[in-house]
């Protein structure tokens, strides 16, 4: 009680406690819905704990055995987790690189005071629309479109582009290509809007003065827009990365949970789901989650480090 009174005497009122009170809900939610489950996952990963039919096995403490299983090679000598990590990264890069490039281009077009594109709200809505469709519905749609008896194959044969049907789900390139295409279509609109917000936050006079000083559009983009956009771009890349590492619904539905062919489109979360879905194997699924968490954290720090370093140098 002493504290506020003294401050009052000095003529100022401290509202700081209200600040803390207002952020309590966030921290409480974080504590109960994120931190505690996270710690529980680490705890669970140290146990043998699964269901065999309707009978529960465990939980029995097994130390780091689950991690050992996770990183031990199968008969053919390949380590499952590393393979699925590789798949996930390839699928993410295939989708995210074009996504960010196209979004950047569109964002520059839409915000350019020289182009003055008409009917902007219409275009913005249209490019955002794919994101509103449920990923599973979108995957089902693509599966039907590209199946052996689907319209795309009928078109290919009828137009004479190929003699026989193309089995899109029997080759690694086409399956990965389809997954990347879908992720791209679903997310480039969202990214465009984020980047547009970033560009519009930049002082217009900087562009004008750069132009007056004789900078061409490319120079303006690389010397003015990009450096000033860096904070938003870092945010976009890191959220896209974390989203990419958690890639699940699109490949799961598109490949019917198999990750075909040869499990080359099985992502890390699909792998996790394999452990969890039938046997409720919390031990192994926990181990996969913990490693996935470490990988995500490590990659985020790495991306943040490299991108901020570059923007500081600029």
């Amino acid at each position: 009680m002493k504290h506020p009174v003294r401050r009052l005497k000095r003529g100022g009122v401290s509202y700081v406690k209200w600040g803390y009170i207002f952020i309590i809900p966030f921290f409480a939610a974080y504590l109960f819905f994120t931190l505690v489950p996270q710690l529980m996952t680490i705890y669970n990963s140290l146990f043998e704990n699964y269901r065999d039919g309707l009978n529960q096995v465990g939980p029995n403490f097994v130390g780091l055995k689950n991690y050992k299983t996770l990183f031990s090679p199968d008969n053919s000598g390949s380590i499952g987790f590393l393979k699925y990590f590789g798949n996930t990264m390839i699928l993410w890069i295939l989708g995210a690189v074009p996504q960010i490039l196209v979004a950047l281009l569109l964002a520059v077009f839409f915000t350019s005071y020289r182009l003055r594109i008409k009917a902007q709200p219409f275009f913005k809505t249209v490019i955002y629309l794919p994101n509103l469709i449920m990923a599973s519905a979108f995957s089902m749609l693509f599966f039907t479109l590209f199946s052996n008896v689907g319209p795309i194959n009928q078109l290919i044969v009828q137009m004479g582009w190929a003699d026989v049907k193309i089995d899109f789900f029997a080759s690694t390139i086409t399956v990965r290509g389809l997954i990347a295409l879908m992720n791209f279509l679903m997310w480039f609109g969202n990214t465009t809007i984020l980047l547009m917000a970033g560009i519009m936050g930049i002082d217009q006079s900087l562009f004008e003065s750069a132009t007056i000083d004789g900078a061409g559009p490319l120079q303006v983009f690389f010397k003015v827009t990009l450096p000033l956009l860096m904070p938003i771009l870092i945010y976009v890349v890191i959220t896209a990365l974390i989203g990419g590492l958690q890639m699940f619904d699109v490949p799961q539905i598109l490949t019917n949970g198999i990750g075909m062919p040869d499990r080359t489109s099985t992502t890390m979360v699909m792998y996790l789901n394999n452990y969890l879905s039938t046997s409720k194997n919390f031990g192994m699924a926990g181990a996969v989650s913990v490693v996935l968490f470490l990988v995500s954290a490590g990659l985020s720090v790495f991306v943040y480090g490299t991108l901020t370093k570059r923007s500081r140098e600029d």
């Binding site: 008969n75 199946s147 008896v149 029997a170 198999i258 062919p261 879905s277 039938t278 194997n281």
Partner: protein, 433 residues
């Protein structure tokens, strides 16, 4: 004043929410049973028959909880419900659930199901023995009944058989495909005429796997491949490389498209439920080929699937559970209707025999053949043995990973390794090396 009013309103709101909680769960008074009857199922097949032929007692609401069977989704949902059975309110308890041959053991040999002889299902004199055996636990307690008997037959296109073999008579066709060597020879003849022998690489899977002499896992829980499963893999390899079959899965659109009039496939394999529930394309008004089909035993006797009704422990409607079971195995009229109107092969031997001997009875879909007479013969050969609680997902997984090999996407070794990895992930209890 305003403050007081809003406070009172807010309190009232909170109270009304709490009031919902305090309402005591519908308890079952002695002599009276629950008002809500919950049935878990994986498709609409039984639901259709139930709604048509079973008269639900007045005042009872039947609640269907339907989840797809693929990837064990149905089993997952059912397991969760059964494990929470004791804590569920009376209206949420599972009363009856359906199970398939591939995983029935998991539920039968477990406390989740109850002895049906104690709730009033005692007469099994007319049912097929294997259907009772499948629903009997290791101590000899019967936990459920099947409403159908599922001997599986070779279902062939009459017009294609005529073209390839010169006859569409079931006895003559059976003679031509009575063992695997003959079946393969006919496949070659069909190929020469521009037909496929089967529409899916997995068409013959059940024909082989049902004749396995050992279960998927041995007593020590080691995974084992039966000679019949290996034979299926070898034969399918030849069929694919010779162009005798397509490489799509059994339920894929590409396979079912072969059932249309312009389809080029001679044989499908399946029990009665297959052609009445899964061959919709063949029955299509415009593009189908209704009546252009017939059945014979094929190279090996086998059965496929079948839907059992199991009584869940803790049900608050035991009388109705028993009544439903008795209706679908012992009610002569209902069983007759299943055969007559639904092209089913019922689980009542007396009813089946009646139709088998009836010269007037025939199936229009099968071009006038008396399918019941055929199935009565085939049912004599059904053996329900070598089953494990893991069968559904092992069969599903083997087919899915071998399909990649047949499509040429991976080598056989890679396919097998992928299958083993899948087994390790799906069933930690199974030892794979």
């Amino acid at each position: 004043m305003k403050k007081t009013l809003s406070l009172i309103l807010a309190l009232l709101m909170v109270l009304s929410v709490l009031a919902g909680c305090s309402k005591s769960p519908a308890e079952t008074p002695a002599g009276e049973e629950g008002k809500v009857f919950n049935i878990y199922a994986w498709n609409e097949e039984f639901k259709g028959f139930f709604e048509k032929y079973y008269e639900v007692p007045e005042g009872i609401t039947v609640n269907w909880i339907i989840n797809p069977s693929d990837h064990g989704v149905y089993q997952d949902k059912l397991d969760a419900a059964l494990m929470g059975q004791s804590g569920a309110s009376a209206d949420d308890k599972v009363d009856l659930f359906l199970a398939e041959a591939d995983y029935i053991l998991k539920y039968v040999d477990n406390g989740a199901t109850q002895d049906i002889t104690k709730i009033g299902v005692t007469d099994f004199s007319n049912t097929y023995e294997y259907t009772v055996q499948a629903a009997t636990d290791s101590k000899g307690v019967v936990k459920g009944v099947s409403f159908q008997c599922c001997p599986s037959a070779m279902i062939y296109r009459r017009s294609i058989a005529k073209d390839v073999l010169g006859t569409d008579d079931p006895a003559a066709v059976q003679e031509a495909v009575s063992d695997w060597a003959k079946f393969e020879a006919v496949a070659g003849q069909a190929k020469d005429k521009g037909y496929y022998m089967t529409a899916s690489f997995a068409s013959t899977y059940r024909v082989f796997s049902n004749n396995a002499t050992a279960p998927w896992v041995d007593a020590e829980n080691n995974l084992q491949f039966d000679a019949q499963v290996n034979a299926w893999m070898d034969q399918t390899e030849d069929f694919v490389s010779n162009g005798y079959t397509l490489t799509s899965g059994i339920w894929d659109d590409e396979t079912t498209a072969q059932m249309f009039m312009d389809g080029k496939t001679m044989c499908f394999f399946g029990p009665a439920w297959y052609y009445n529930f899964s061959m919709g394309n063949a029955q299509d008004k415009d593009n189908g080929c209704f009546g252009d089909w017939a059945i014979c035993q094929g190279p090996q006797a086998h059965f496929w699937g079948g839907t059992w009704l199991l009584a869940a422990s803790g049900s608050d409607n035991p009388t109705m559970v028993a009544d439903i079971m008795n209706t679908f195995i012992n009610d002569e009229e209902v069983c007759s209707n299943l055969v007559k109107n639904e092209m089913q092969f019922s689980n009542n031997q007396a009813v089946n025999a009646k139709f088998a001997e009836d010269p007037e009875f025939s199936s229009a879909f099968l071009g006038g053949q008396n399918d019941t007479a055929m199935f009565v013969e085939l049912a004599k050969n059904i053996k329900f043995e070598n089953v494990t609680i893991y069968d559904q997902l092992l069969n599903e997984g083997l087919q899915a990973y071998m399909q990649e090999y047949y499509k040429g996407a991976v080598t056989k070794e890679e396919a097998m390794q992928n299958f083993l990895n899948y087994v390790n992930e799906t069933y930690p209890a199974i030892i794979t090396n």
